[in-house]
Symmetry: D2
Subunit: 449 residues, 4 copies
């Protein structure tokens, strides 16, 4: 099975008359054979239904109006996410593979394609929030129709189709996280008191972070993954050797309490702690604390998806930029780990953590267990590595893969997933990436030396 073929854009034009590009939101795709052998057909179908249902479940406390909000160009409306993930299945699965399929509305090919950059000289990504039409009801109907057709397709799916479904579901899980981070940002722009949303109970521990370090010998280690090891995006491949000096990673991520000490020590006012570009941002944006922190009623509070809550000193700090993470590390006398140090250390641990399924969507304090912890879940951890191709990285051909490596400049790798990441998405080799100034993801840091 090969993603190149099913992703070929030329087939996708038959009934809808538009060519399709995959863009920023869809930047990372598998470029070799997919491992779907472990899941039989029944699983594909039930996985499909489960992931799709989960997406809707995340939006159940949101109104039609909420789902139209777009508060910055980096973010998209919930409704757009709902439609775009559906467009993905329609475009890359139904159109090329389901005989006789007619696309629900040809205009959706244009509206819900995530790669708008080359379509015109005005950048339409920032104006996704102006799409009051099609209505939410129509978008939900779009989802339902595509889901029905997908059921039909899955009833007799070829390996190609099953591989495509795997990609589509991983893609959808990425957008589940974006739904949470984007609506959080949008609601934060509204001064009108909101009671928030969010499902899970906040079982809050007050365990202090473990400031001890775990040691690693380094040397020649293997990083990345290969297709036969299970699903992975192309940028995680190929598996290859790197040479690491001996290093130490701190057992816990940096906590809110430690961040408060940084603030109180003038961390946001001392240029000598900052990268030059970071200091420019810090000044021009007036940063004085992580995103969503506010000094209210004589204390630091932070906006969560359930409204404002007091900052919990024991929980990992969150919603910080790379620049802030780097400045903190310098202030603390340490540094950020490289992505390979992180991956080398994570390789020794079970894939367990506090993910989106817990429905708390806020990082939690660590438990009392000794040693390296919270590597997975809670907060994405900024690394000192810029997002670059691995040796031997070859961008695959085809529509889906056309722009695979195009974001490999000026962005930084984050590792480990967050409290808003679907657990099924995560693995030691997963590379997330954002610009150094971005803060609206659930991003934190871990110290190294």
């Amino acid at each position: 099975m090969n993603v190149h073929r099913f992703g070929d854009g030329s087939q996708a034009q038959d009934l809808c008359g538009r060519s399709m590009d995959a863009g920023k939101d869809d930047t990372m795709f598998l470029d070799t054979d997919l491992d779907v052998g472990r899941a039989d057909l029944r699983d594909a179908s039930s996985d499909y239904l489960r992931v799709r249902a989960r997406t809707l479940e995340l939006t159940r406390d949101l109104s039609d109006e909420d789902m139209l909000l777009q508060s910055m160009p980096d973010a998209s409306p919930t409704k757009w996410h709902l439609a775009h993930t559906t467009w993905f299945f329609e475009t890359f699965l139904l159109q090329p593979h389901l005989p006789g399929y007619r696309c629900v509305d040809p205009a959706y090919q244009y509206l819900f394609n995530s790669y708008y950059d080359t379509i015109g000289e005005r950048h339409p990504r920032p104006v996704r929030g102006l799409l009051s039409r099609p209505s939410l009801a129509k978008v939900l109907d779009y989802r339902a129709r595509v889901d029905r057709a997908m059921e039909q397709l899955l009833a007799s799916a070829s390996p190609d189709v099953r591989a495509g479904v795997t990609i589509g579901l991983h893609h959808e899980m990425q957008h589940q996280e974006l739904i949470l981070t984007d609506i959080k940002h949008a609601l934060s722009c509204n001064p009108y008191a909101f009671t928030g949303f969010g499902l899970g109970a906040g079982a809050r521990s007050s365990e202090a972070p473990d400031t001890g370090f775990s040691s690693f010998a380094g040397g020649l280690v293997e990083v990345g993954t290969d297709a036969e090891q299970g699903f992975a995006y192309d940028c995680e491949q190929p598996r290859h050797q790197v040479f690491l000096q001996p290093f130490q990673l701190r057992n816990s991520p940096v906590s809110n309490g430690e961040w408060l000490a940084f603030i109180e020590d003038g961390g946001y006012r001392r240029p000598e702690l900052w990268l030059s570009d970071g200091w420019s941002h810090c000044q021009s944006e007036g940063w004085q604390a992580p995103l969503y922190w506010q000094w209210r009623e004589q204390q630091w509070q932070q906006l969560t998806l359930r409204g404002y809550l007091p900052v919990n000193p024991a929980a990992p700090v969150c919603h910080i930029s790379y620049y802030e993470a780097d400045a903190f590390a310098r202030w603390a006398g340490y540094r950020l780990p490289t992505e390979f140090e992180w991956e080398c250390a994570a390789g020794t641990l079970p894939l367990r953590g506090h993910f989106a399924e817990a429905d708390r969507w806020q990082p939690q304090p660590a438990g009392p267990e000794p040693g390296l912890k919270q590597m997975y879940g809670d907060v994405w951890e900024w690394t000192a590595s810029s997002f670059s191709p691995y040796p031997g990285f070859t961008p695959p051909a085809g529509a889906l893969a056309e722009y695979n490596g195009k974001f490999m400049a000026n962005q930084w790798v984050l590792r480990g997933g967050s409290c808003a990441t679907a657990e099924q998405q995560m693995r030691a080799s997963y590379r997330n990436f954002f610009y150094a100034h971005q803060r609206w993801q659930f991003s934190g840091l871990r110290l190294a030396r």
Copy 2:
């Protein structure tokens, strides 16, 4: 009766705890005694209900999502207009005058106050579109509660109150027009085909414009108005003398057909026709035709509130900036009239025209009657007059009036009302004003010499 007292902001703080400013959207207020003697109490109440109901009627084809759209800082969401006009009655009538009145939600004092400029260093006007909460349902409930309280107040209204209601209703009628122009702009940003909305049937005449001129002797003439002549905003006062040279006004506004000739003659490519600032705008914005015109299917079409329609050559041109109006007049060998020439000429005519009540919301060709026509309705007519205070203009004191004259710089006077203006609002002395580059109002021009 005196607006100063009922508009006093200090009383308005009792139950809601916020001070109130009136801003851009509320820039023009009566500064002397109101003429409400002609309307008895029953009329005030029925006027109130009629105008308020009309506002909702304008929105009946819009969804919750449509009403949240804000496509540019100059425009506001429909929902915001619905709330703001209600806030006006709550703030200036109910709070100071209805004993025991409790405001519906103290937060609305902040959210729906139109004058955001001094509240903080970030200009929140551009982010009204992020207010998904309070929901439309809550805003409609707000309207209903205020309306019930107003009924109570109107049952025993003092002259002060009746004067305030008059202002509030004129204010609401201004926002009725903005609801139409703002939603038109918002829907124009959505490439998704929309069937439009709009109530009336399009009785389209194809009478060519009357290119003859009517002559006026000029001399010392009176312009403006005084309080005893009926309701008027302060900027229309006082009535005073100006000296006019003899002049001529063209009988019809400039038509789409004439505008096409301007385009075809290179009007948008010839800097010598333009004011220097206008040429900068023309180039930086890439203007090639009036706003909402598009070359589609081998012809010029224009977006209307019922969707795209072919440009009707006989109808007045619309959605042009002052800069374009001025360039056209230079190209045609004429000039724009001053606002006093316009007012002097209009003074001889009955107040009759094609207004919003016709529910067509698109300028129509003239009828066959001879002489000066379409002075009222169809399109606002740009004049050559910058918006300035009349001799003896004295801004009134009090919260409502605090900023009366603050827009008297860099804006230009338009006269006569449009197809989206409520007829009851119009009079010969009415001065509308916008910046020279703005095009989203129903603005056209009439030639003078």
Copy 3:
């Protein structure tokens, strides 16, 4: 004689191969017959030499490097002014009228033409400061060569030529003022202590301003001028009637001492005093005092062309924007006069004042004489009138006149000249104009009521 002919651009292309436009710096030109009859030929020649020599005299304390400075797009380098005024004579006099004249360097046609806007999509006006080549020496040589050729032309000048010389010299006097205001701005951007330049002795009076008012009856008055009354730009024409209400003008311009009271009363922090656009500028630019004022060594000092000097409370306030003038007038309980009120009042006075010839280039306190004073000289006085065409204004044809009226939008009329204006330039009908936010001219205000 008619400017249309000698200004015809087509003739100017013969030897240099470029078409010529006159732009912003050359915006105001005579449109009818010139009155040069009063000056015989000898005068024209000696006037020419005197004005041209004066220009160089103004630069005698400036180095080659100083003369290259351009500190903002509104201003030009001294060297550029020296070249541009020369280009004017070469282009409009020598090329069309001196047989066999060869232009000094064809490239100068492009470099020293003041109207750059239509030449390309990049606005080169802001980069005049990058023209290190041709060197100052070459520009001085350019002046000398053109002056020699002009002597030849003036030896046998036709009325056309004499009219052109008159315009050229008035144009050059305008640029003399700009040389002073532009270099003042440029030197103000250099923190390196400068001893300044400037010729005259500072005879400083400390007479307090006369806060009394002079009364005028208004009525139908004549304003503007006609060609037969002597040289004037087209925008001052034609002479026409306006109707004025009775008004009063304050005898003295507003002084620095009064401005200090405005500052101390929070004038720069109270939005209710400001026009809406003005308040935006005030905040975004951080205005806290007039341009060039600095709080140094426990007192307000102001940068003059001789360096920093303590603010003299008795002298007229200077380097303020229209917005500040308007806010001050509102704060003081008065208003700005219209340009016609000013002209009506000035018509009664001899043309006498403190002009550039005194070589002090800083406004001075009034003398003790009673009544209206300092109407001419010291500071340009902002009026409440936007810069508009007079009734019957007809832009002349030809290259020089092509853009005559193009600045008649968004700018405000200033009257009376300043301490940096050549006395010979001034007359009661003279209309200067700038944008409401501009402050680098010697601009002040006089109150009216």
Copy 4:
């Protein structure tokens, strides 16, 4: 000897009263013991005089006016470079080490300090071009005075001083290159024909580039350097191991002829070839060819320091951004090398190439010798490596070193030096770095696979 001590800012304040920071222009400094043992004192003195004289020699064809030009914030005026390099010796050598030394002008401490960012909220780097005062003559006098004092200091120099002089001279050589690149950019902004400057004869070969590849086995290799190996900046340290896959480097840099093929194949119009950020820049800047290329007289010409010359197809392409280099490599089916691949390959070659000393300041075609060539000189070669700290990198303490690592984000490493680099500066471990969009350096590329 330790740079920490002599670079300590507190000592430098004694006579001039200002604290000193080193900034962008001075970003890379030695952090450990300097190897100056090989140079005896006489050498230090003669090296000093030679390097300082060379700086002036580079400017000998420039006028006072030329030397004031600043055409963009990234670049500085020649005069500023002359002063800043002198300030460096005054601040870090004379003030702390020469007893009784009085600084030439305390204001120079502020004006010629390269790190302006933290001094105030206005970014003064962009306005270095407004410093007409102090004059060039004064700056040359400043150089002469400091040189005399340095001679005195060098007569009895301690190891500390000798180490400081070494840094100062390397710093000055960096600025020699910037003088050339910055004035080239400034002169390119002047449309006035310039005959250019430049000293050497243009011995132009037309040898085609060698498109063969040299192979390297990779494996565990050592990169970087340590203090005992001779002078190097801190960012080149420490020497450490990296693991490389086998790789190949092309023998010649990419040539202009090859670049023409890229242009002709639509290289600047095909988004699929570009990084996402690169495509944004390409579009917003309108890139269609390397910087300084112009289509003139039916052929591609390029601006050189001797004026416009036809593009030589055999010479290495130059003045391209990282984005362009990356797009070209993708188009060609190759990739850029990492900095370690480059260094590993360069380690096998003698340090020989076409440097600034040849006084041609334009990259030249290769000679006929076989194998890897032009690794040094001609053009800086963009690598695929972002500028990051080496493992174990520890920023040194002290004023000079305060900001050593602050540019280690969003910039890319270039290797090998250019035709404008002083030969003495170069070594295999040298890391130059610029932002991905910058093009005004002599930057080219070499392909890898």
